[in-house]
């Protein structure tokens, strides 16, 4: 993988935790955080496109959460109709460009490819999707035109993939949209949460700009629900509201020392990393431990390694099969020099002067009923910096008015019907704040479905 690393240091425990910036030569940062999966060149893309059998009622399309007509877009690459190809993709998934880069295709479209059965080598659908969407963003314009203005106005709260997808579809259908985003930039996790080498070169913002070219979408950043405005106000002001609030909270270890120096959520650190002007100025520990088994844990561990951390260990309480990070992601972490330890959970943080220095783990196993239990055996890892990636959660507080939920929350997320409509008839919701897979592509689908439902309601 070409990760440039620091020389191995001495394995002694100094008085001070070793967290510092600039562990690598300046040039190494560019190399380590450039495009992790460079695009197919035109010739390779055509060769790959010709591998597609153009299946009928294709399994890949069925496996795509947004239902992109994959055989059609691939056929169009083979015939050098890249404009048409990109349009097929964007019709179902306006964030087809970022999804081409971040989708876990190995468990979605590419897993379903019939070529797997025949030769254990699927058509590289993600890479082909990138070829078409990149071409359009470089050579073309937003391929959609807005329908005649309806005079209806819709508020979208949250400028992540769900909100942007919803806003774009509404704009295409002729409605005017205002996006309220609490942060400074639109993009959501594409901008703040995904590993930097998956969406390098400011792609998240380029894609947002491309999508907003459709017109009719006003973005108001720095505007937070519950702080700057309430849902009731939006409902009074707009014909409909879409909530794409995402996950505002992270789960904590629940151990003493959660708040010590050197303990941080992976989400918070990755956000800093993504917004850093200069990665060589970003401090990282020499010995890093990441706790968790999802893609965020993998992204954190690999990025720590690529920032020059000498020793990165990812610890997960269950086995490899139970990790929500795909096999592909787990392999990627290991290729990057991350050590993965399964079947262990943290039971104690050991610190000095308010700074975490060691983490004590207990081995785990499943009992006869399949429940996770500790074995009683323990081990300790020395640590300069500890990252937690043990789940994110929807925080419903901004939806409280007069200390009461204004709409129905179920199992910690906003309850919605099949069309994304909440318990309030003029409010829809989608993305990570609603039930379902926490994937960019799933959020886009939620936004699209909700927009179509909103349009039907507004057309009545």
């Amino acid at each position: 993988m070409g990760v440039q690393q620091q020389q191995t240091g001495q394995e002694t425990m100094s008085d001070q935790a070793d967290i510092r910036a600039g562990r690598l030569p300046a040039a190494a940062y560019d190399a380590n955080f450039s495009d992790v999966k460079p695009p197919l060149d035109p010739a390779r893309a055509v060769i790959e496109a010709n591998r597609c059998y153009f299946c009928y009622d294709a399994p890949c399309q069925e496996a795509c959460p947004t239902g992109i007509d994959i055989p059609s877009f691939i056929k169009k690459i083979a015939t050098d109709n890249l404009k048409g190809s990109a349009r097929v993709i964007l019709e179902e998934n306006i964030m087809g460009g970022s999804c081409a880069r971040v989708c876990p295709v190995e468990i979605l479209c590419e897993e379903a490819c019939v070529r797997n059965t025949q030769e254990s080598k699927p058509v590289r659908i993600g890479m082909l999707q990138r070829r078409a969407t990149d071409w359009l963003m470089e050579n073309g314009r937003q391929p959609f035109e807005r329908a005649a203005a309806t005079g209806k106005r819709v508020a979208v709260v949250g400028g992540g993939p769900a909100g942007i997808a919803c806003a774009h579809r509404l704009a295409v259908l002729g409605h005017d949209v205002v996006i309220y985003e609490a942060r400074d930039k639109l993009g959501g996790l594409n901008e703040y949460g995904i590993a930097a080498y998956k969406l390098p070169d400011g792609f998240a913002q380029k894609e947002v700009d491309f999508i907003l070219e459709i017109g009719g979408i006003e973005a108001r950043t720095g505007q937070a629900l519950g702080r700057d405005f309430t849902l009731s106000q939006l409902r009074g002001e707009y014909d409909a509201v879409f909530l794409g609030l995402g996950h505002a909270g992270v789960n904590l270890l629940g151990l003493e020392g959660d708040d010590w120096q050197g303990v941080e959520s992976a989400v918070s650190y990755i956000e800093k990393l993504r917004q850093a002007e200069d990665l060589s100025a970003l401090p990282i520990g020499r010995r890093v431990v990441v706790i968790g088994g999802g893609n965020t844990a993998i992204d954190m561990a690999v990025q720590a390694k690529r920032l020059g951390a000498e020793d990165v260990t990812l610890v997960y309480r269950r086995g490899p099969a139970e990790m929500s990070a795909t096999d592909h992601e787990q392999d990627f972490a290991q290729i990057n020099g991350v050590r993965i330890r399964h079947w262990a959970r943290p039971v104690r943080l050991i610190g000095r002067d308010g700074q975490v220095r060691e983490v004590e783990f207990e081995y785990t196993q499943l009992d006869e009923d399949g429940r996770l239990m500790g074995t009683g055996d323990r081990f300790t890892l020395l640590v300069d910096q500890l990252f937690t990636a043990i789940g994110q959660k929807f925080v419903p507080d901004p939806l409280k008015e007069n200390e009461r939920d204004v709409l129905e929350i179920a199992n910690g997320r906003i309850a919605v019907n099949d069309e994304g409509q909440t318990s309030l008839p003029d409010v829809w919701a989608g993305g990570d704040c609603t039930p379902g897979e926490d994937l960019t592509v799933a959020a886009v689908q939620d936004g699209k479905i909700a927009a179509l439902s909103i349009d039907r309601h507004l057309s009545k």
Binding site: I47, N50, Y53, C55, A58, P59, A78, T117, Q118
Partner: protein
């Protein structure tokens, strides 16, 4: 190991793989490289009278399919553009250096007896093994009254062939153009003129592609194009049919055939031979991959013959000819249906949609335990083979015989034939 030595109208070669008259056989350098690579013989690129022809720049067009290059190929190159004397000298030298290889010389001169008499005398001095009369070239030379302009008129073929037989002791092979409605006319004319053999097919009138920027056919010469001669793998089915038509024609019975048209592998060659060809000629495959391809042609053919128990080429030459018949003699009572090997099925659905959209709605797309499942509806299947051809997995869909207990019945005998109904009245 099977013996693949070839004796074609007395012309002997260590194998039946000859390079056809074309750019690869235009000069000593290429032909020597071909012989070193193991080719059994060559038909030297067509000689004409001096002054030599002049060729244009940009000569070949090609058809690609799904990334496969040169599935079809065409050219607008004329006959040899080198002085006759140079060609004759080189032919003589190469034949001396490679006495075991077949050396046939292709000829094309104006349709006058004296012209043919003169060139035959000069060619004979090279001690080559035979001549091939180029009555096939469909571009350029035909505008000058040669090539396919001769090959499309059976009377001319017979006349020129007769002259050639009169003025040379060498075997005369007549190369036929496929740009006719019935190949038997030219073939019978060649036989009537005394030809020792025919070779076919020459290339087919064609425009390979149109350059949509220049708005001109390819190959494009300074903004304009002309039809060229089509060849390569895509023409093989046309060639096979024409070879078979001649092989099973009672009037042409026994006339040796050198098969040409899209031969790229030993299997292609075996197919031509099964339909009666005594040797095969190759050009496009060599122009695509170089001369080395002959190695597998020889080796593969011999291995296949060993497997089948054929000791010599004569053991299977023409073996498929008795099974080429007219439609009206096919057994109308024979029934087959498609069978899908579910273990091999990759669930692409192509068999289903091909049948559903364009044929007989005889393959059901179902879900079994949530899995895609495709099943043949026997009652609807007419045994057309479309699904088998559309399926991307070899051997996944096969056609199996239905034992319906009905005897052989052909259309001439079938009571459903309107002519039989009339007779019964």
């Amino acid at each position: 190991m099977a013996d693949i030595r070839c004796d074609f109208v007395g012309i002997k070669s260590p194998n039946p793989f000859w390079l056809a008259s074309a750019p690869p056989t235009d000069k000593e350098y290429n032909v020597v490289r071909a012989f070193k690579a193991g080719w059994g013989g060559v038909v030297w690129k067509t000689l004409g009278e001096d002054p030599p022809v002049v060729n244009v720049s940009s000569r070949y067009g090609a058809l690609s399919y799904h990334g496969m290059r040169m599935v079809g190929f065409n050219n607008i190159e004329l006959i040899s553009d080198r002085p006759l004397e140079v060609n004759l000298r080189e032919i003589k030298q190469v034949k001396r250096d490679w006495p075991d290889r077949a050396m046939i010389v292709s000829l094309m001169v104006p349709c006058e007896e004296e012209n043919w008499k003169n060139i035959l005398a000069r060619v004979e001095e090279t001690e080559c093994d035979g001549v091939e009369l180029n009555f096939g070239c469909p571009h350029g030379m035909s505008e000058r009254g040669m090539g396919s302009a001769v090959g499309q008129v059976p009377e001319y073929i017979e006349m020129v062939t007769r002259w050639c037989k009169k003025y040379t002791r060498m075997p005369v092979i007549v190369k036929l153009t496929p740009n006719v409605t019935n190949i038997l006319g030219p073939a019978r004319a060649a036989k009537a003129g005394g030809a020792d053999a025919v070779s076919l097919i020459n290339t087919i009138n064609s425009i390979c592609t149109v350059d949509l920027d220049v708005m001109a056919p390819t190959p494009t010469v300074d903004g304009k194009g002309t039809h060229g001669g089509y060849c390569g793998p895509a023409v093989k089915p046309i060639a096979l049919n024409m070879v078979a038509e001649i092989a099973r024609d009672p009037q042409c019975a026994g006339m040796p055939i050198s098969g040409i048209g899209g031969v790229e592998t030993w299997r292609d060659a075996a197919e031509f031979m099964a339909l009666g060809a005594g040797s095969v000629q190759v050009c496009t495959a060599a122009m695509h991959y170089g001369f080395k391809i002959v190695e597998d042609m020889k080796d593969g053919l011999a291995n296949w013959m060993d497997e089948k128990g054929y000791a010599t080429l004569d053991d299977f030459r023409g073996a498929a000819v008795p099974n080429v018949t007219d439609w009206q003699y096919l057994n109308i009572n024979s029934e087959i249906v498609a069978r899908i090997d579910q273990d091999k099925c990759i669930k692409c659905g192509l068999c289903h949609i091909a049948c559903e959209d364009t044929s007989h709605q005889a393959i059901a797309a179902e879900r079994v335990n949530g899995e895609r499942h495709y099943e043949v509806i026997d009652a609807e299947c007419v045994g057309c083979n479309l699904c088998m051809h559309a399926c991307p997995v070899d051997g996944c869909i096969t056609m199996v015989k239905v034992d319906n207990g009905k005897p052989y019945l052909n259309w001439k005998e079938d009571p459903r034939n309107p002519q039989n109904m009339k007779a019964a009245e």
